[in-house]
C-alpha cells in the first residue's frame, strides 16, 4: 500500500473539515438554543452593541454608560424593586444583517429572564427591526434618532424615539438661530446651509427644513455629502461661495471632523456651524484639532461628571473596578452620558410598569406600557440624581418622543461648555406632519392605528 503522509493528509483533510464543520454547527446550535435553569427574578436587556468598526467610538461610549448605569442599579439598589438587571452583548459592527441576527438571537431572553427592550443605537438596524419588534411585542428604543413618524404611538406602538426625533432636532436649531437673530422674525432673509450625510438619517429632515424655510422666510440650501464623507472640498467651496450666515451640520462619524477641517480650509468660522445630535461628541471634534474651536452643537444632555447619578456610578461601579469603559478618561463624555441617560429612561420605564404589573420580571408588552406612561418631572429627576442631565419628559400613547428640547454647547478645544438653556422645538407645527406620515405608513402596511383615548 503506497500511502505517503501527504496523501493521507489530503485524504482525511476533507473529512476533517467536514467533521469540524458539523461539530462547529452543532456547538453553535447547542449554545444558541441552550437555556439554563430559570435564574429567577431578573430582567434582561439584549444589547446589540458595536465595539468594532467605524462607529466603535460612539458604541463603546454609549453601551459603556448604559451598562454602568445598570450595574449601579444592581449594586446600589439591588435591582429595580428587587428585580435585578441582566444583559448580554452581541456585536453588530453597525451592520444591519448582524443587527437582525443579534435581535433574533437575543429576543427570547436570557436564562429565563424576559427581554425588556432593545436599544440598537442604529438607524439601519432600527428600520430592519421595526416590523419584528411590533410582531414580537418588544419595545424598540431609538433615543434621539429613528423614524420621525414613529413618534406617533398610535401607528407605532412599539417604537420609541425618546427625547428627540429628527424633526424636533432641526426645529430646535432653527429656533436657536432665531434667538441669535433677534427673534424668529429676524430669520427672514438670512442664508442657511444644511450639510447632511447622504443616508436615510441625513435625508430624513429635507422636507421639514423646506417647510420651516417657507414659514420663516430664510434662504435654505441643502447640500449632500456622500457617505462616508472623507472628502468635502467641493461642498465647502460651494458653501464659501454662498456665504451663509449659518451652516447646520447633520453629520455622522468621520464626516464631522472632515467638515470642520474643510470649513477651516475655506475660512468659514466654526462658531457659525451648528452640529446636530450626532455631531456633538468629543470623538467628533477632537480629530479636527483647533479647526473645531468655537463649533456649536446641540445636546439633550450635557457632558461632565458633576451630576449625582454620575458620581454614584463613579462610587459604586467605577472605583470598585467594574466600570465598562476601557479608557476611564471617557467617563462623563457625551456618548457615555447618553448611555447613562438611556439607562435611566429604560429603568424608569421598568419601574413605572412594575407599579402597575407587580415587582417581577416583566414582558415586553408590559414594559411598553411603562414607556408610554413615563413621566419625569423635575422632582423625579432630582430624586434620580439627574436634574439638569435629563430634560423633563412625558410620554403617552400618542407621543413616544416626550421631550423635544435641546441645549446648545460650544467646544473650547478641551470641553463642551453649555451656552444656552433648554430650547424647545416647535412641536405644534411638527405634529400634523408626523401624523400625516404615520397614517400614510399605516395605510401602506394595512395597520389599523390604535385608539389612544383608551388606556391600553
Amino acid at each position: 500500500m503506497n500511502l505517503s503522509l501527504s496523501r493521507y493528509f489530503r485524504a482525511t483533510w476533507p473529512r476533517v473539515t467536514a467533521i469540524a464543520g458539523v461539530s462547529l454547527l452543532l456547538a453553535a446550535g447547542v449554545v444558541a438554543t441552550a437555556s439554563a435553569a430559570y435564574a429567577g427574578g431578573e430582567e434582561y436587556f439584549p444589547l446589540q452593541s458595536y465595539r468594532v468598526g467605524p462607529y466603535a467610538a460612539g458604541g463603546t461610549g454609549f453601551f459603556g454608560g448604559f451598562i454602568d448605569y445598570m450595574q449601579l442599579i444592581n449594586t446600589r439598589d439591588g435591582g429595580v424593586n428587587g428585580v435585578k438587571l441582566t444583559w448580554s452583548e452581541c456585536e453588530t459592527e453597525y451592520v444591519v444583517e448582524k443587527g437582525v441576527e443579534c435581535y433574533e438571537r437575543l429576543k427570547a431572553g436570557l436564562n429565563g429572564a424576559p427581554a425588556a427592550a432593545t436599544n440598537p443605537l442604529s438607524v439601519g438596524i432600527a428600520y430592519a427591526s421595526l416590523d419584528r419588534s411590533t410582531v414580537d411585542k418588544l419595545p424598540l428604543i431609538t433615543i434621539n434618532h429613528g423614524r420621525t413618524d414613529s413618534t406617533d404611538g398610535a401607528v407605532f406602538p412599539y417604537v420609541f424615539p425618546l427625547q428627540l426625533n429628527p424633526y424636533s432636532e432641526v426645529s430646535a436649531i432653527i429656533n436657536y438661530i432665531g434667538t441669535q437673530s433677534g427673534g424668529l422674525q429676524g430669520l427672514k432673509g438670512k442664508k442657511i446651509v444644511v450639510l447632511y450625510h447622504g443616508s436615510p438619517y441625513g435625508r430624513e429632515t429635507i422636507p421639514v427644513l423646506d417647510t420651516l424655510a417657507k414659514k420663516y422666510g430664510f434662504e435654505l440650501t441643502q447640500i449632500e455629502v456622500p457617505h462616508p464623507g472623507n472628502e468635502q472640498g467641493s461642498q465647502w467651496l460651494n458653501i464659501h461661495r454662498i456665504n451663509p450666515d449659518w451652516v447646520i451640520l447633520r453629520g455622522w462619524g468621520v464626516m464631522n471632523p472632515v467638515a470642520l477641517k474643510s470649513a477651516q480650509k475655506v475660512g468659514f468660522p466654526a462658531n457659525h456651524i451648528i452640529g446636530n445630535i450626532w455631531s456633538n461628541s468629543e470623538e467628533d471634534v477632537r480629530p479636527a484639532g483647533d479647526a473645531a474651536k468655537g463649533f456649536i452643537s446641540i445636546t439633550t444632555h450635557p457632558s461632565g461628571t458633576n451630576y449625582p447619578v454620575l458620581q454614584a456610578i463613579d462610587q459604586y461601579v467605577v472605583k470598585p473596578g467594574k466600570g465598562n469603559l476601557n479608557d476611564p478618561a471617557r467617563f462623563g463624555t457625551v456618548y457615555y452620558n447618553l448611555g447613562v441617560v438611556n439607562g435611566i429612561l429604560n429603568v424608569e420605564a421598568l419601574r413605572v410598569a412594575q407599579a402597575k404589573y407587580g415587582n417581577k420580571p416583566l414582558t415586553g408588552e408590559q414594559v411598553r406600557w411603562g414607556f408610554e406612561h413615563l413621566d419625569l418631572d423635575n422632582a423625579r429627576l432630582k430624586q434620580l440624581g439627574a436634574f439638569g442631565l435629563v430634560q423633563p419628559l412625558k410620554l403617552s400613547c400618542a407621543d413616544h418622543e416626550g421631550g423635544g428640547a435641546v441645549r446648545f454647547q460650544q467646544w473650547d478645544g478641551q470641553h463642551w461648555k453649555v451656552i444656552s438653556d433648554w430650547v424647545q422645538a416647535d412641536r405644534a407645527l411638527l405634529r400634523p406632519i408626523i401624523e400625516k406620515s404615520a397614517n400614510a405608513y399605516a395605510k401602506e402596511k394595512g395597520i389599523t392605528p390604535r385608539d389612544c383615548s383608551k388606556d391600553l
Binding site: G59, P226, V254, K265, V266, R286
Partner: protein, 293 residues
C-alpha cells in the same frame, strides 16, 4: 471665474492625496502582480500606530521610525505567509486573499490600539492662502509637495540605482530576473517595505485630514479609479490618474452635481474610469495585456 479655479485647484490637490495611496498599490503590483486591497488597512495600521506612540509621549521621529519598522515587518510577513503560498493563482484569488488580509489588519489595529478616534496634528496651520484671487489650502500644498518629493525620490531610485534596475527587472519578468541571479525574496521584501513607507506617509497626511480612525481605510475606494485610469503598474500613471480624478470629481460635483442634487462624487470617478478604459483598455500608462492563444 475664480470660483472655478478654486474648485479646480482644490480638486488637483485632493487628487494628489489619492495618488499617494495609489502609489503604494502600484509598487506592490509591479513587484508581486497582486492588487493589494489590504493597502487601506496598512494605511490605517500605520497611522494608528504612529498616533498611539505619540500619545504615549514618544518623540515624533522615533515614532515614525518605530512605525516604519513595524510596517516593514508586517509587509515581509505578508509576503512570506500569504503571497508565497498563493503564487501562480488567478488574480481574483490573490485579490480575495488581500481582502482577508485587510480584515486581519483592521482587527489587529483595533485590538492593539483600541477603537478611539485620534487627532493628528502635523503642525500646519490650515488657514487658506490667497494666490491671485484663488483660495488655496496650505495643508494641501504641503501634501502636494510631499507627494512630489516622494515621486521624484522613487523615480530616481528606480531609474538610477542598481536596486531600481533589479526592481524593474523583477516587474518585467520574474523568471528571467531569477535566471540572472537577482534574489527575488529580497526584492519583494524591499518593495513591500517601500510600499509600507509610502503607506505611512499617506496615512499621516490623510490622518491629519480626517482624524485617525477606522474610516481611514476607506481611502482605498478613492484610489481604485485612480489606479484604473492610470494603469496598475505605473507610478506616473498614478499621479496623472490622481490629478485627473481629483479635478474632474470636484468640478463634476459642483457643476453637474448642482443639476442632479449633489452627491455624485462617489460614482463619478468610476464612470470616468470606465470611459477611459473603453478608449484605452489598459489604462493611461498601463501595460496592455498580452494574450497567447
Amino acid at each position: 471665474m475664480s470660483f472655478f479655479l478654486e474648485v479646480l485647484v482644490g480638486g488637483l490637490l485632493a487628487g494628489v492625496m489619492y495618488s499617494l495611496v495609489a502609489i503604494g498599490f502600484v509598487l506592490i503590483y509591479k513587484a508581486s502582480g497582486v492588487f493589494n486591497f489590504a493597502q487601506g488597512s496598512l494605511v490605517l495600521f500605520g497611522a494608528l500606530t504612529f498616533v498611539s506612540l505619540i500619545e504615549r509621549h514618544l518623540a515624533a521621529w522615533l515614532a515614525f521610525a518605530a512605525t516604519l519598522a513595524v510596517l516593514v515587518l508586517i509587509a515581509i510577513a505578508i509576503e512570506r505567509a500569504v503571497l508565497r503560498p498563493l503564487v501562480n493563482r488567478t488574480p481574483i484569488v490573490l485579490f480575495m486573499a488581500t481582502l482577508g488580509l485587510s480584515f486581519i489588519l483592521e482587527g489587529a489595529a483595533q485590538l492593539l490600539w483600541g477603537a478611539q478616534v485620534h487627532g493628528l496634528d502635523l503642525g500646519i496651520d490650515d488657514k487658506p492662502l490667497q494666490l491671485g484671487g484663488v483660495m488655496i489650502s496650505q495643508f494641501d500644498m504641503f501634501a502636494a509637495a510631499t507627494a512630489g518629493v516622494l515621486v521624484i525620490a522613487l523615480s530616481l531610485m528606480t531609474n538610477r540605482t542598481r536596486l531600481g534596475l533589479s526592481l524593474r527587472a523583477v516587474a518585467d519578468d520574474p523568471l528571467a530576473a531569477l535566471a540572472v541571479g537577482i534574489r527575488l525574496p529580497r526584492i519583494w521584501a524591499i518593495v513591500w517595505s517601500l510600499a509600507g513607507f509610502v503607506s505611512l506617509v499617506a496615512g499621516l497626511l490623510w490622518g491629519a485630514r480626517l482624524g485617525v480612525q477606522f474610516s481611514l481605510s476607506l481611502v482605498v475606494l478613492k484610489a481604485l479609479p485612480v489606479l484604473i485610469i492610470g494603469g496598475f503598474s505605473s507610478i506616473g500613471g498614478a499621479i496623472a490618474g490622481g490629478l485627473l480624478v481629483g479635478a474632474s470629481e470636484k468640478l463634476a460635483e459642483v457643476y453637474a452635481g448642482a443639476l442632479v442634487g449633489g452627491g455624485i462624487e462617489n460614482w463619478f470617478p468610476y464612470v470616468l474610469a470606465v470611459l477611459f478604459l473603453l478608449v484605452r483598455p489598459a489604462g493611461l500608462f498601463g501595460e496592455p495585456a498580452v494574450e497567447r492563444v
